[in-house]
């Protein structure tokens, strides 16, 4: 029998390889967890059981035939529902795409398919990835597996929850301002946002194109690396896809670590700070050179982000007009039809950001808002470059607090936006960043740290965070969902 409690992709791969269990057994176990947890958590919007079982059987016959399998062969993963999977809906958790069926695979989906991945389902998110709690999903929120009264974070809340609870061994999320790392942190799992341009965005429904990046959510950094290796690499269908060599950094105790001063002060909960300090102390004991560094523009990051991201989204979401696909509400003229479709199809947060962005780009305001934000963004990039001359990695909290309760921040958008205080800078600068769980707070909710590194040092960052995971040895899981009913 498969013991999937806390099983990683790595271990599952070994189990399949040495025939401790079959792909079908593994898959059925995963769907059992889903069956036990979904009614409470609502992490998946769609489960693809029949196709998964068919695929698992194929994998088993392939294993029986030639024995050699790749690291993702037969591994059940889930996909955030803003990435296209041919023949299935891609709702972006929005009413406006409630009936939309995608005619093509996103590049990441195609690459996972080619690697033999079994798709468990599509996961819940804040509508169009705009939010930090999944409370903005038109199909209802996802609950945090550690405490269903708490949010799982967002926007990739579903993708983080399924990994945390074990209804997928890993998942794909997308991260525009922290949408992979923040929910990973809230759910006590690993969330990795790669260097902008290393993972193709083709087939990812855009929120803010210059910031969006797809990445894995997994149990371990090692697992994140397995998925990253499969999905990354140049794609001719994405003009922003990079075709550059990666760079490497020290991955052991010789690595120099910088503490981001601005992310350890105002706005960060005391217990979160203490947890990061605890980790820093362990690193120092391991012999790391740890120093405080300053990134003054970090304080501007949220302001910059909330001009650039809404501006881009105001154009990206213009195509949802009821003309060619998705929801359509009839009107007397084509404009009336589009107006009604958009009024009914989009939720409040999406409308708020479209309005913000339209305003920021308007004649007479462009220079004052969007233009300024672009200049400030450049400064953020330059500050990071400067700091990385003296340190290899940066450490900070991933989130200002651990997971909060439902409804706590829904009435105050600005407070909700502050959840991304620590994660946004990496998006503005296009840098790789990872969140790894390190401990549990007084309420039983997971703590995390965030590590950032220079662009294209993704593999070193994953290896280094894997090394830290081993030192910290955090291994708790919200295990109540795994028991047989």
């Amino acid at each position: 029998m498969v013991e999937i409690n806390n099983i990683t992709i790595k271990k599952a791969h070994e189990g399949l390889k040495d025939k401790s269990f079959s792909s079908l057994e593994l898959t059925e176990e995963i769907f059992k967890v889903a069956a036990n947890s979904e009614s409470v958590l609502h992490a998946h919007l769609v489960l693809m059981h029949d196709e998964a079982v068919k695929k698992a059987k194929e994998t088993d016959s392939r294993i029986a035939k030639d024995g050699m399998i790749g690291e993702l062969d037969g591994i059940p993963l889930s996909i955030k529902d803003n990435m296209n999977l041919k023949g299935y809906g891609t709702t972006c958790s929005s009413k406006i795409l409630s009936n939309y069926i995608s005619p093509y695979d996103a590049t990441v989906v195609k690459r996972l398919r080619e690697n033999g991945t079994i798709f468990v389902g599509k996961t819940n998110l804040d509508e169009f990835a705009m939010g930090s709690s999944t409370e903005n999903s038109a199909y209802g929120p996802t609950k945090n597996p550690w405490d269903p009264d708490c949010v799982p974070g967002g926007s990739s809340g579903g993708s983080a929850a399924v990994v945390s609870v074990g209804s997928a061994l890993g998942s794909l999320g997308s991260d525009t301002g922290g949408s992979i790392r923040q929910p990973a942190s809230f759910c006590g799992v690993v969330g990795f946002k790669p260097t902008y341009g290393t993972v193709s965005r083709f087939g990812l429904i855009a929120f803010a194109s210059s910031l969006d990046q797809i990445g894995p959510i997994t149990k371990t950094s090692e697992d994140a690396k397995i998925i990253y290796n499969a999905i990354s690499g140049y794609d001719s269908k994405d003009a922003t896809s990079l075709n550059l060599k990666s760079a490497s950094l020290p991955e052991d105790s010789s690595a120099k670590v910088g503490i981001v001063k601005e992310l350890m002060g105002e706005g960060i909960a005391d217990d979160v700070k203490s947890e990061v300090e605890r980790v820093i102390k362990i690193l120092e004991e391991e012999g790391h050179q740890v120093s405080e560094v300053s990134l003054p523009m970090t304080k501007m990051a949220i302001s910059i982000y909330y001009l650039i991201a809404p501006a881009e989204c105001s154009a990206n979401l213009a195509r949802f007009d009821g003309v060619r696909f998705g929801l359509r509400k009839d009107g007397n003229t084509s404009y009336e039809m589009s107006d009604k479709t958009r009024a009914e199809g989009f939720g409040d947060e999406v409308k708020r950001r479209i309005l913000l962005g339209t305003y920021a780009l308007s004649a007479g305001y462009y220079d004052a808002y969007y233009g300024q934000a672009l200049k400030a963004r450049n400064q953020v990039v330059n500050e990071f470059k400067e700091v990385f001359k003296s340190v290899d990695y940066l450490i900070s909290p991933t989130t200002p607090s651990t997971a909060f309760k439902f409804g706590e921040k829904t009435t105050n958008p600005l407070e909700m936006y502050m959840s991304d205080l620590c994660t946004i800078p990496a998006n503005l600068a296009g840098l790789p960043a990872i969140s790894i769980p390190t401990g549990i707070d007084d309420n039983g909710m997971p703590f995390s740290i965030q590590l950032m590194s220079p662009e294209l040092t993704d593999i070193s960052l994953l290896n280094f965070s894997s090394y830290i995971e081993k030192i910290i040895a955090f291994d708790q899981v919200p295990s109540k969902w795994r028991k047989e009913p």
């Binding site: 990435m83 296209n84 891609t90 972006c92 795409l97 939309y100 995608s102 005619p103 093509y104 996103a106 965005r201 083709f202 087939g203 990812l204 429904i205 855009a206 803010a208 194109s209 210059s210 001719s236 269908k237 994405d238 003009a239 922003t240 501006a311 881009e312 105001s314 154009a315 213009a318 195509r319 949802f320 007009d321 003309v323 060619r324 696909f325 003229t333 084509s334 404009y335 589009s338 339209t358 780009l361 308007s362 004649a363 462009y366 969007y370």
Partner: protein, 480 residues
């Protein structure tokens, strides 16, 4: 009231690339709607644009051919507006860094050369097509059909400065631009297919007014005839308003072919806010010197250079421009003739006059394949050198249109070569004069027209073809 018009032109040219501007769909004429599509040109969620390198090469070549400064920092912007045939509800276009700026195009208008200043040349994608049923516009139509086959076809927009002063000049400008894009091989430039579409911005001012008047835009024409008539109409309309002291409204108008007038489409209050911003899906393009060098490695001859060359070799400006604007095969045949015919003007006259005339009568649109510079040239030389008469030459040409042969051999074997020996002709003349004393006397008394009769008699006497003008000349000498 005499008014002074100022006209600026905006022209859209569809490029003849293999694939569309931002996706791999083919650029081709397709009969059935919505068949030449992919997620990108249909604006489906998650699709991304990837710029077509060939199109960037083509527009760069155009920019250079128009004497533009080429930007080093090529970038695409999003132009935001909602319209059902614009799939993303923004058009990928260029804003403050167009590929080319500050160029010029030499035109020939009413037999005079002038330069039209070009403000900018930029790259964008075409929209889909709307077919409004039961009404001319989307808000009055019963329903609207959308065809996205055209969506994403690479489109170059060329904007002139407001420097054109009448309709004829505007027409000459479009003709020249059309010829240019044909000669540098970047567009099929078929007006009837909408490969070239133009808008005219027109304002009028009275003599003492220094500032330009209120601008009216006539949108989306694709025929030269419409362009000329629309501009003339609009100048008159605005002049009348001015005379009556009525307000000219800044607006977009449409040329109605049937009513033969411009009709208001929409009034522009201030300029539309397209909220341009740099498209984050497309990295900036660094148009390096190496790239530009590779684009102009084997530069095609431009119409103005070709025109200059023809004028230098003996054609008038009008003739030269006529050839430059002719169909490709006419120009090629002419080039080919120039090698074989000494007198470039007779090559010009034979090709553009007699040949085209005969072909038109036969309803032949293209040159027969076997008709070449060598055989046609040989025929023209026979005529030019007096070996055959020009009427015989025309007869030989009509044979040559049908089949391939050497005109010289043909003339010889059919006894069509003129006898040009003066001695031979003089002997015949003396013989004829001898038997027509009375006529000779009358000629001497001033009845010149009777010379023609004697020419005919001499020709009848001869067993060989004679050059009639030579015969006439010799008779005149004898009858003085």
């Amino acid at each position: 009231m005499k008014v002074y018009p100022t006209i600026g032109m905006e022209t859209h040219v569809e490029l003849k690339t293999e694939s569309k501007m931002f996706c791999a769909c083919k650029v081709e004429e397709t009969e059935s709607p919505n068949t030449n599509l992919c997620p990108t040109c249909l604006g489906l969620p998650g699709s991304l644009p990837v710029p077509n390198k060939k199109a960037i090469e083509m527009i760069t070549l155009l920019g250079i051919s128009l004497d533009c400064e080429i930007t080093k920092n090529g970038m695409f912007h999003r132009k935001n507006y909602f319209y059902p045939d614009l799939p993303k509800n923004y058009q990928i276009s260029q804003f403050d860094f167009p590929i080319g700026v500050n160029g010029k195009l030499q035109i020939v208008s009413e037999n005079e050369l002038s330069d039209i200043e070009i403000e900018r040349v930029h790259m964008e994608e075409d929209t889909g097509k709307s077919i409004h049923a039961g009404g001319g516009r989307i808000d009055t139509a019963e329903y609207t059909l959308l065809d996205f086959n055209r969506s994403g076809i690479p489109l170059v927009e060329i904007v002139t400065k407001p420097v054109i002063s009448n309709a004829k000049q505007a027409v000459s400008y479009i003709e020249e631009l059309r010829q240019l894009v044909i000669d540098i091989d970047i567009s099929h430039a078929k007006l009837e297919l909408g490969n070239l579409r133009f808008d005219a911005n027109i304002s009028v001012a009275s003599k003492d007014e220094k500032e330009l008047g209120v601008k009216v835009e006539i949108k989306n024409m694709n025929s030269l005839k419409s362009l000329e008539r629309a501009i003339d109409y609009e100048i008159e309309r605005q002049g009348d308003l001015k005379e009556k002291n009525e307000k000219i409204v800044q607006e977009t108008r449409h040329w109605d072919e049937k009513l033969e007038k411009t009709i208001s489409m929409r009034t522009k209050e201030g300029s539309a806010d397209y909220r341009y911003f740099s498209d984050p899906d497309i990295p900036n393009m660094n148009l390096t010197k190496d790239f530009i060098d590779s684009v102009v490695k084997n530069p095609p001859e431009l119409p103005k250079d070709r025109r200059e060359r023809y004028v230098a070799s003996g054609l008038s400006l009008e003739e030269a421009s006529h050839i430059v604007k002719s169909d490709k095969w006419v120009r090629e045949l002419f080039e080919d003739m120039k090698i074989n015919v000494e007198n470039i003007r007779s090559a010009y006259l034979w090709v553009t006059g007699e040949l085209l005339g005969q072909l038109r009568k036969l309803n032949i649109e293209n040159k027969p394949e076997h008709l070449r510079g060598d055989n046609f040239g040989e025929l023209i030389s026979l005529v030019d050198e007096g070996e055959v008469s020009s009427s015989t030459g025309k007869e030989i040409l009509s044979e040559l249109i049908q089949r391939d042969f050497s005109p010289k051999d043909y003339a010889e074997s059919n006894n069509l070569i003129q006898e040009n020996s003066e001695e031979y002709i003089n002997n015949l003349i003396l013989k004829v004069l001898d038997s027509h004393h009375e006529i000779v006397e009358r000629i001497k008394l001033g009845e010149d027209k009777l010379v023609g009769f004697l020419v005919g008699e001499v020709m009848k006497e001869s067993s060989a073809s004679l050059n009639p003008s030579l015969v006439r000349e010799l008779i005149a000498k004898e009858t003085k």
